[in-house]
């Protein structure tokens, strides 16, 4: 038991180290391609500075952004796997070690007293999205989420007669500048109030989308001209992913989870 627990702890530390100091190759490729297409000189300069920043973070093995986020994880766990003890506790231990080692900024505070727990863990943190899969495998994806983009996220309980895409474009036009564009937009369409929000978070993990709706929405958002950091340009969003669920015949929940250009995530296979 203790050997497997230790492997979970170490995998959590490794996943956080990679997630905080580098970006997935596909994200870097999206930024570079956007820079090649971008017609606004200032916007191109911003995109290149972002890529330079990721290179510096990788060379110095330091967090690419000082907002190292809240510790959010996506765990895929085999149904036949027997894990003595709590996987939550093992991942929390990994977060505490990573906070000192990388180091991470202690971001987790009580919502009312605003007292900082000091190690990014405590009631409700880390937040773990757990999926059971066939077999005996175990993988841990670190998905640290910064506040700049998370603060702009929202759930709208629309009238079924409303157009959800108009709502999304309007919200992005109002809020994008504060969320460190170019953005990745996780959209939860349908479900209930909270299911829509969970779908939107999952959409960020399944980025980018390639359906006709997703491609069209991305095109509409990029026609707004908001650009990198909200200072103008062709590149407002790099990816849109929509996850859907059935909803009540009287409801149309739409959740938008904003993600900044630095879409950080890293997966470690434990078993």
């Amino acid at each position: 038991m203790s050997e497997l627990r230790d492997r979970v702890v170490q995998a959590t530390v490794r996943a956080l180290e990679r997630a905080e100091t580098s970006l997935p190759d596909w994200v870097l490729k999206e930024i570079q391609e956007a820079s090649d297409r971008e017609s606004n000189a200032l916007a191109r300069q911003h995109l290149q500075f972002m890529l330079d920043n990721v290179r510096i973070a990788g060379q110095s093995r330091l967090p690419l952004c000082q907002d190292t986020g809240l510790p959010i994880f996506h765990v895929r766990m085999g149904r036949d796997l027997r894990l003595d003890g709590s996987i939550y506790e093992a991942i929390a231990e990994g977060v505490r070690i990573a906070t000192k080692k990388i180091p991470l900024r202690p971001n987790a505070v009580h919502p009312l007293t605003r007292k900082n727990s000091g190690d990014n863990t405590g009631p409700g943190m880390p937040d773990i999205i757990l999926d059971y899969v066939d077999g005996r495998g175990l993988s841990i994806t670190a998905f640290p989420k910064g506040a700049g983009s998370e603060n702009m996220s929202l759930v709208g309980m629309l009238n079924p007669a409303d157009d959800p895409f108009d709502f999304i474009v309007r919200m992005v036009a109002e809020r994008a500048a504060n969320a460190c564009p170019p953005l990745f937009l996780g959209i939860g369409l349908g479900g209930s109030f909270d299911l829509a929000a969970r779908l939107a978070k999952r959409a960020l993990l399944n980025m980018p989308g390639t359906s006709q709706e997703e491609t069209q929405l991305l095109k509409r958002i990029n026609s707004l001209g908001i650009g990198p950091m909200g200072l103008g340009g062709d590149t407002t969003a790099l990816g849109v992913k929509i996850e859907t669920a059935l909803c009540h015949t009287a409801s149309l929940p739409v959740a938008i989870n904003f993600q900044c250009w630095a879409s950080r995530s890293a997966t470690e296979m434990v078993l």
Binding site: L42, Q45, H46, F49, M50, D52, N53, V54, I56, A57, S60, L62, P63, L64, C65, Q66, D67, T68, P103, L104, R105, P106, N107, R114, N116, G146, A147, G148, N151, D166, V169, R170, A173, E174, A177, N178, C180, S223, L224, G225, I226, G227, P228, M229, G230, L231, G232, C260, W261, A262
Partner: protein
Amino acid sequence: MTTYRLETPLSCEDVEKLVAGDVVFLSGPLFTARDKAHALMRRAGCPVSLEGAALYHCGPIIQDNRVLSAGPTTSGRMARYTEEILKNGVRAIIGKGGLPGEPFRNKAVYLAYPGGCGAAAARQLVVLAVHLPELGMAESLWAFEARNFGPMIVAVDAHGKDLYQEVRRSAGTRI
């Protein structure tokens, strides 16, 4: 679009010549302040002189007095304090996402540092001192020595031009 290399403390002339869209690199002392430092300064006053200062909305990662990562935080959360901060003599507020432009008129500029670029920013900053350390690492008022800190875009100038507002207004017509 002109590129300027300026030294802090900033003079009125430094600020007056800047036009929205210009690029600025700053050298010299720089102070950080975010949510808690602003709230505390409203109650208890500022522990340092802000005459001609550049105030950076930033919650850095510092280890053994070394700046490890120090990009900008969202300025909008501090919008309620802009007027009193500028009354203290601040001539440049640095952050991301912007602030309402009116309080800056004839007084100061808002400079946008590229968001998310904490590792790059850390290479341009050295710790001079820490004030209000009881607020914790991210919320303390850090005094940094800036070394060619930038590129920053003049997003709100002292003549009433606000790039964010122009972009938002134009986006509103394209929805």
